[in-house]
């Protein structure tokens, strides 16, 4: 019972190249302002202060859309979190 063969190499990934790192850029993104209002839109970019540029922004209060804007700049101090609206 001398099974000295090395374990098989890990299975090759299904995709030929590794998937890109998780990113919410260009995908619908949720973020919550401190007071419980949520803004949802497509994240264009952000900087070190968490200032955010967003496209197709909708403002949600209690699940209802209260406002919508085209492009928006959101000052970083108002950001509580950023999450992908749909699973990455």
């Amino acid at each position: 019972m001398d099974e000295s063969t090395p374990p098989p190499p890990p299975a090759a990934p299904a995709e030929p190249s590794p998937p890109p790192p998780p990113s919410t850029f260009g995908s619908p993104t949720d973020f919550l302002k401190c007071s419980g209002q949520t803004r949802r839109g497509i994240l264009s970019c952000l900087d070190g202060y968490m200032n955010i540029a967003m496209e197709q922004t909708e403002e949600h209060v209690n699940g209802r859309v209260t406002n919508s804007y085209g492009d928006t700049f959101i000052r970083g101090n108002n950001v509580l979190y950023i999450s992908a609206a749909e699973p990455l």
């Binding site: 264009s44 700049f73 000052r75």
Partner: protein, 97 residues
């Protein structure tokens, strides 16, 4: 990426592209402004002209459950305005097609 085609690499580029345009600004304390953006800095201090301020005054009705509120809207106009950056929540430039 779409944002690259707009020439937006960082969020402030969105503001830079809105200079001399009418912008919507959402402020702390249920205030909103629309005005022509003349200048801004890294704190988001803003210089606006031809400004209309909208103040939402929410009155909670006493003894009634949440949701029974009356919202009064006050508006005023100002020729020129300096906005301190820490009050800014959101700036939305005019939609460009």
């Amino acid at each position: 990426m779409d944002s690259a085609s707009n020439g937006i690499q960082e969020p402030f580029d969105l503001i830079r592209l809105s200079l001399s345009e009418r912008v919507f600004v959402k402020l702390r304390g249920d205030r909103e402004l629309t005005g022509v953006l003349h200048a801004y800095d890294g704190h988001m201090n803003l210089i606006l002209s031809d400004v209309e301020e909208t103040i939402m005054i929410v009155d909670q009705v006493e003894g009634v459950s949440e949701g029974h509120t009356t919202v009064n809207i006050a508006k005023r106009k100002m020729e020129m305005l300096f906005v301190r950056g820490d009050g800014v929540i959101l700036v939305s430039p005019p939609s460009r097609g």
